[in-house]
């Protein structure tokens, strides 16, 4: 009798079903710091960036505002889905009503919202968000934030909103700004006004509410893996294995492979450049 390979039994993924109760509500506070240094000091010439003032410092939201961020049905931890972008824009307009302006094709920006069920525990679900959008500020000024990273914590059984944050990651650089050139004549053919561009750093631009408690997860995706998956949902180029500079130089020598190096004045893996 021939020996048979033991059958490999693969466990089906455990499906999770985050839901939001009609009773859920949360109050979000807006924080928007003045810009830090920028390459051409242009950011400080824009009043909305030099002395930013959120449109609504505090605003209350309910279940209907947050339900679009949830999956359509049960999903395993690590599953990602597209979110109706308008749900994110409604919240970002607490910072400025120009969030989500449609500028048409510009320089390869990828507006939208993606979400992932990053973790599930006995008490909570955590959903990670990546939101990319532009802001049409005053006087024709356009601001392109790198992205907003969101973290939504809801109670597993009651479906209540425990905590939420949606923040511009604090890495230098993280915003691009386009300013119409003062006194310039519009292009006679396209009608567009020449613009000045700059890129810089805003230390904090965030909407947040509730408290994130210390909790233990039954299943979770490491944060960096979840971030990479959401980045790849926006950008096909992110499918490549991009290494940090020093690591890449070492790998090039060790593998005797040439180094393909992209140099930029703003980050490659977000919408600020």
């Amino acid at each position: 009798m021939a020996l048979q390979e033991p059958a490999v039994l693969q466990e089906p993924p455990v499906l999770q079903d985050p839901r939001i109760s009609v009773l859920a509500k949360i109050e979000l506070k807006a924080h928007w710091d003045p810009c830090g240094p920028s390459l051409y000091h242009l950011l400080r010439s824009v009043p909305a960036l030099a002395e930013p003032k959120p449109a609504q410092p505090i605003l209350a939201y309910d279940a209907e505002d947050f339900r679009p961020f949830l999956p359509q049905g049960p999903v395993p931890v690590g599953s990602a889905w597209a979110v109706p972008h308008e749900a994110s824009l409604k919240i970002l307009r607490q910072l400025h009503p120009g969030a989500g302006a449609d500028l048409g094709p510009t320089f390869g920006e990828a507006p939208g919202t993606w979400a992932m069920l990053r973790a599930a525990g006995t008490d909570y679900f955590e959903i990670l968000l990546r939101v990319q959008t532009v802001f049409q500020l005053e006087a024709g000024v356009v601001m392109k934030p790198a992205q907003f990273e969101g973290r939504l914590l809801i109670t597993r059984h009651e479906g209540l909103l425990t905590a939420f944050s949606l923040a511009l990651p604090a890495r230098d650089t993280n915003v691009d700004v386009n300013v119409p050139m003062a006194g310039a004549e519009p292009d006679p053919i396209t009608g567009s006004v020449p613009i000045l561009a700059d890129i810089g750093f805003v230390p904090r631009m965030e909407l947040s509410g509730g408290e994130f408690p210390a909790t233990t997860w039954i299943a979770e995706i490491p944060l960096e893996d979840a971030r990479l998956a959401l980045r790849r949902a926006f950008y096909p180029f992110a499918a490549l294995d991009w290494m940090p500079f020093e690591e890449a130089v070492a790998a090039s020598r060790a593998q005797s492979k040439p180094l393909h190096l992209v140099l930029l004045f703003g980050c490659l893996d977000d919408d600020s450049c």
Binding site: T173, Y235, M243, E246, A248, V249, P258, H260, L263, L264
Partner: protein
């Protein structure tokens, strides 16, 4: 334009995966790497890459020994809206293979 252009073309991605090590870096960070990177090779390459950098977005190909094999600035790559940037970028990668 670069990320939605050549860096997203499947054929070019496959070549980059198979034949190259890939990295991106902020040009403004290169002087810091040139001064304080952990290895002399990384310090030397950071200094040379910064000297050769073409604003605002540049692609450089470096041999494993630290020799600049080719480069193309995004402004040159996309200067002519009718130009075939996929072929231009492929030629840049070819330059590395021929050395």
């Amino acid at each position: 334009m670069l990320r939605a252009g050549p860096l997203s073309v499947p054929q070019l991605q496959e070549r980059l995966r198979q034949e190259f090590v890939t990295a991106w870096v902020l040009a403004k960070d290169l002087p810091q790497f040139a001064a304080a990177a952990r290895t002399p090779e990384a310090r030397a390459l950071a200094a040379a890459a910064h000297t050769a950098y073409r604003y605002p977005v540049d692609t450089q190909i470096w041999s494993a020994a630290g020799e600049l094999l080719g480069q193309i600035g995004a402004n040159d790559l996309f200067a002519d809206p009718e130009a075939d940037w996929e072929t231009l970028y492929g030629r840049l990668l070819d330059a590395a293979a021929q050395r």
